[in-house]
Amino acid sequence: MSEICKLGLSVSMQGGVPLERDFTVATFRLPPFAASDPASFGRSLVQAAADTAKRADIDLYVFPGLLGMSLCPGFDPAAPDVSELESGLREAYIAAGSYAASALGACVVPGSIYVRVGDDRLQEYAAVFDPQGNLIGEQRQTHANAPALAVSDELTTIAVDAGVKIGLLLGRDAWYPEAARILALSGADILVAPLAPPSPYPAEQAMWGMWQEVQQNQTYGVEAGLYGVLGGTQYAGRAGLFGPCEITMDEAGFLPRPGYFVGTGAHVARLPAEDLRTIRREYPLMRHLNPALYRKHFPMLYRRPR
């Protein structure tokens, strides 16, 4: 692993230069773990990545959304009840994530969890760790899965290496293009979505989430998916790695080959920096954004829709 995550806690809102080097990502499709303490959860993360261990070039591991709720047996994310949330869950999740990143020698997004906001509300939360196990970035959900859940009005890009910034989209955020646009225009070249979509989750539903966020922002994208039963709800996540159609096999927008990964375990691809620069240069979508138009309507129209 070369030079990875040397920026430590650097969290940037600047646009800056595009992806500066090739980056290799492993994303996962997994069921919840049978793990009730941080040590066993951390070991389960490492175990899940075992079949990728022989690859020394993986820079980032992304685990499914709500996987961290494995630490809170009995909690049903589909009907979140603040009284059922274990105190100290965030600390346990962070300890496990830190352990896994150190053990794997790579950056890690250990899925997501719910955290308490104030006395009576819950919010989806995820963290990013560097290969030394340091917490280098956090993100809270900005578009809620249910009205009862709290949302954040902060979206931050996270530098996972010199010249490599990611942005996290949690749950429903992946289907609100405003979130991906903010992250992409803030300099995120890789959009990362640890998801836990309830069943059914057909390909069409998935496609207008991360796949198309990547297309309209000319970034790379990572989707990790929870499947199986958690807290009484059936999940049907997929794993996928995405790039602009023009720089992918059969121009399908998937990496390393067309289609979602619906097996169990890791799905790995290298994200070439030069390819991304080339498509942005040859087909400059962002050059034709129309800020004068948006200024007339945004953000006022959201407050006063007609």
Binding site: V17, P18, L293
Partner: protein, 352 residues
């Protein structure tokens, strides 16, 4: 204006006289009438138009008549034509028209020794194009008693700026317009200017937005229209893409319809056009839950080449029920925080 230009303009005026078009269409007749509208349901037809240069105004009117009559016979109350439908009239330009069968516009201009931008050609042809285009579609809309989204036309404004303008002709004879707000890089090179506003039009069949082609690549277009109350968004396209690639085609109207919870009608210009090879499907789209196969498609052409029409019913009442059951949960505080900053500094170094 020199004598040559005066002569050319005189000839173009002769070739675009409205009376010739109106007489031609009256002779063909309007025996089919739009069916009686059903409450809350709009039947739409999307045209997949095979490009052909029309060397006379009557030839253009005849071709459009055939498509509209077929759509009306299938019960359509709304007929949508593709982007650049008006470009078929470039054939009336003496000398230049035949060359455009094989050359790009830029090559053709160079071939005749003109040191000009492509936008200059649209300025030159603007008045004649407008007369043929507007006379044809206004006659057809009022004659058949249907709404016709006539795709788009490259037209100059009073100051000579050329826009790609979407048009909707109503059965009452009104013309609603919308300039394309997100240009293709090629159009920018041609010297076109982007529009700076988006409107939703209240019509007797629903609240309609009229963006043009590339506008559907940007989520902002459909979001603005939805927030302004759009129920139906019409997207005329003309995609230079050969061979056709279904993945790339999924980057336009289909995800935008899902994001905005509207009906979408896409009409496609196909064939060899001004030195380009265009492909694309005519289609009618809806939120996944409102389509029989759950794929977001109400109707789509079987092939991305060749001329055809597809038609489907759009249940506006069902759309409103769907919206009530699946309300969009915006985060205005987030957008207020970031939009002013990110849009004002959207140029990313090396990002295009």
């Amino acid at each position: 204006m020199n004598l040559r230009e005066i002569s050319l303009q005189f000839m173009l005026r002769l070739r675009s006289r409205p009376g010739r078009i109106e007489r031609r269409l009256r002779r063909r007749g309007y025996r089919h009438k739009a069916r009686t509208p059903r409450v809350g349901v709009v039947r739409a037809a999307a045209v997949q138009l095979e490009f052909q240069l029309c060397e006379t105004a009557e030839a253009f009117a005849d071709l459009m008549y055939d498509y509209v009559r077929r759509a009306v016979s299938e019960g359509a109350e709304l007929v949508a034509f593709p982007e650049d439908t008006a470009s078929l009239t470039v054939g009336i330009m003496p000398g230049l028209g035949p060359m455009l069968r094989t050359l790009s516009v830029q090559e053709a201009l160079q071939h005749v020794g003109e040191d000009a931008q492509v936008a200059d050609l649209f300025r030159l042809l603007g008045r004649a194009t407008r007369r043929i285009y507007e006379t044809t579609f206004r006659s057809l809309a009022t004659g058949f008693g249907v709404h016709i989204a006539a795709g788009s036309a490259m037209l100059p404004d009073q100051d000579g700026r050329v826009y790609n303008i979407g048009h909707l002709f109503t059965p009452e004879g009104h013309i609603l317009r919308q300039a394309k707000c997100h240009l293709l890089p090629l159009e920018a090179d041609w010297g076109l200017v982007p529009g700076e506003d988006l409107e939703v039009h209240d019509t007797s069949i629903g609240r309609i937005g009229l963006p043009v082609c590339m506008d559907a690549t940007y989520f902002e277009t459909f979001r603005i229209l939805r927030l302004q109350g759009a129920e139906i968004v019409l997207v005329p396209i003309a995609d230079e893409q050969y061979p056709y690639n279904r993945w790339k085609a999924l980057r336009g109207i289909w995800p935008r319809v899902q994001e905005a919870q509207v009906f979408g009608v896409q009409a496609a210009l196909v064939g060899d056009v001004l030195g380009m090879r265009l492909t694309g499907h005519a289609g009618i789209y809806a939120p996944l839950a409102l389509t029989p196969d759950g794929d977001g498609i109400l109707a789509i052409s079987t092939e991305p080449e060749g001329g055809t029409i597809v038609a489907a019913d759009m249940d506006i009442a069902a759309l409103h029920r769907y919206r009530q059951e699946n309300p969009l949960q915006y985060n205005p505080a987030l957008y207020e925080h970031y939009f002013p900053r990110v849009y004002s500094g959207f140029w990313r170094g090396g990002a295009g």
